[in-house]
């Protein structure tokens, strides 16, 4: 997050959480559990979340699962191409500690060494409820930020 001042950030994030547009970077296990989130049972569109198809329209980048040396270069470029108030949700334990591939020569071990990660969702692959809890946490974080700003 670029260091805008708190009030602007609170206003921007306040508007962002009501309509989050997601660009998902699923090239591994993340996608299997994320399909029900989009489908009718869990239906993330209830909270105004839609999947968009390019980073320029997106607010939240969901990086699902392990990233190899080759794919992390693309993730970094895509992260840079997203317009500013943006967040990254790292899905799956592979992004936290390298997960199953903790000792593989080809995968990266922790996503936040490469791009600033807003929230980690553990699980291999994480269940849809975990994803909703993560989104809920972002909501709370922003509301708390707004309360703080209003409180001053």
């Amino acid at each position: 997050m670029v260091d805008m001042d708190k009030k602007v950030m609170a206003r921007k994030m306040g508007r962002l959480i009501r309509s989050i547009w997601i660009f998902n970077w699923f090239n591994s296990c993340g996608v299997t559990e994320l399909l029900p989130v989009v489908a009718s049972i869990y239906d993330m569109e209830r909270f105004g979340l839609i999947v968009v198809d390019n980073p320029k329209h997106a607010d939240v980048l969901i990086v699902g699962g392990y990233q190899t040396e080759k794919s992390i270069k693309r993730v970094i470029r895509i992260y840079n191409q997203m317009p500013e108030p943006k967040a990254v949700m790292a899905l799956g334990s592979c992004t936290i500690t390298g997960g199953m591939y903790w000792d593989s020569y080809n995968t990266i071990k922790r996503l936040s060494d490469y791009i600033p990660v807003t929230i980690y969702v553990p699980g291999c692959p994480p269940r849809p409820e975990a994803v909703f809890q993560a989104v809920g946490m972002i909501f709370e974080h922003v509301n708390q930020l707004k309360k703080e700003v209003k409180g001053k």
């Binding site: 508007r15 209830r46 390019n54 329209h57 607010d59």
Partner: protein, 341 residues
């Protein structure tokens, strides 16, 4: 220059504000209904009705990126042209019981040209953003314009021809004649079938013009990841989003002026009497209802029922079947007037 001559200028200056407000708000409301109903059709809960308002507010908060080697002034003015043209189109359209603001200062042909501007602006935006994806998207938008203008022109020509026969003293292309004399009564059986075919063709053309699912080859999400509007972010995209919402209202109103210009008040007038402004509000609400039904049929049902067509299938569909249908309808109506009457 007496007071009367200045009337059109005053209309032209103050009416756009009111109409823009109406177009944007009701367009976003329609979009909200569209997403909610589409979700329910897919057995999902769907977003709250005010979701498009949230989307627009968010989009206006995001950074407005202009690509490095894009042409900045075209890139930034494309959404403005698109939105301006649509507000202008609203000026020439009859909104519910009220006659078109600039009704007797511009006819249907002027409206047809104005309606081509949003598509043109999107194409301009796509080509000017120097991205291969959006260049392909803009090229597809160009093909969309080419393909759906053909049946649209035939439909308009049919109506105008019919009016020129029925009411030779009136101006055939003027929207006022379209509103005062709906065709359903003074047309025989053949003509009635012809009008039905025309109605279906017009609905299908509107889906193409609004760029919704079966024909959204221009900003095809999965194929060219965003198409013509790929490089747009922030307020540019927000304005295109608004323009898209207003476009549904404009196209819906066009269908209403052609096929359903009836007002509720004329039917209920002799049952109970109400002050004039009460009738106006009732008619206006009836107009909003008609607009909602048309948007439901044209946008939501088509969006949920059909997958996206290929580019050449779209052209084949419009230049083949839709044109054939409108030509058949034209010949039916000609037969009806020449033979039947």
């Amino acid at each position: 220059m007496s007071w009367e001559n200045y009337m059109p200028y005053i209309y032209a200056i103050f009416a756009p504000f009111a109409l823009a407000l109406f177009g944007i708000i009701y367009g976003l409301v329609l979009k909200g209904f569209d997403r909610k109903l589409a979700a329910h059709m897919q057995w999902r809960v769907g977003p709250p009705l005010r979701q498009p308002f949230y989307d627009v507010l968010k989009l206006f908060e995001k950074e407005n990126i202009v690509p490095k080697n894009a042409v900045p002034w075209i890139f930034n003015s494309a959404p403005i042209i698109s939105m301006g043209a649509l507000i202008l189109a609203l000026l020439y359209l009859p909104i519910g019981p009220f006659n078109p603001v600039l009704g007797n200062y511009g006819d249907l042909i002027v409206l047809l040209y104005i309606l081509a501007l949003p598509g043109l602006a999107m194409m301009l935006g796509g080509f000017s953003s120097s991205s291969p994806y959006s260049a392909v998207g803009a090229q597809r938008e160009f093909i969309m314009i080419l393909s759906y203008e053909f049946p649209l022109a035939i439909i308009i020509f049919t109506f105008a021809w019919k009016y020129s026969i029925l009411y030779p003293n009136l101006k055939a292309f003027s929207l006022l004649t379209f509103v005062e004399h709906p065709l359903w009564q003074n047309v025989g059986i053949l003509g009635f079938i012809g009008l039905l075919i025309l109605l279906i063709t017009m609905l299908v053309v509107t889906t193409g013009e609004v760029g919704r699912m079966p024909f959204d080859i221009a900003d095809a999400g999965t194929e060219i990841s965003g198409g013509a509007l790929l490089e747009y972010t922030g307020k540019n995209l927000g304005l295109f989003y608004l323009a898209d919402a207003v476009k549904i209202v404009v196209m819906g109103t066009l269908i209403i002026t052609f096929f359903f210009p009836y007002n509720l008040s004329s039917l209920l007038l002799h049952y109970f009497s109400l002050p004039h402004y009460a009738w106006l509000t009732i008619d206006f609400l009836f107009y909003l209802l008609k607009l909602f039904i048309i948007s439901f049929v044209v946008v939501t049902v088509m969006r949920v029922a059909f997958p996206r067509f290929r580019v050449d299938q779209v052209v084949k569909f419009y230049w083949g079947y839709a044109t054939l249908a409108s030509l058949i309808a034209l010949s039916l109506i000609v037969l009806d007037t020449v033979g039947g009457v």
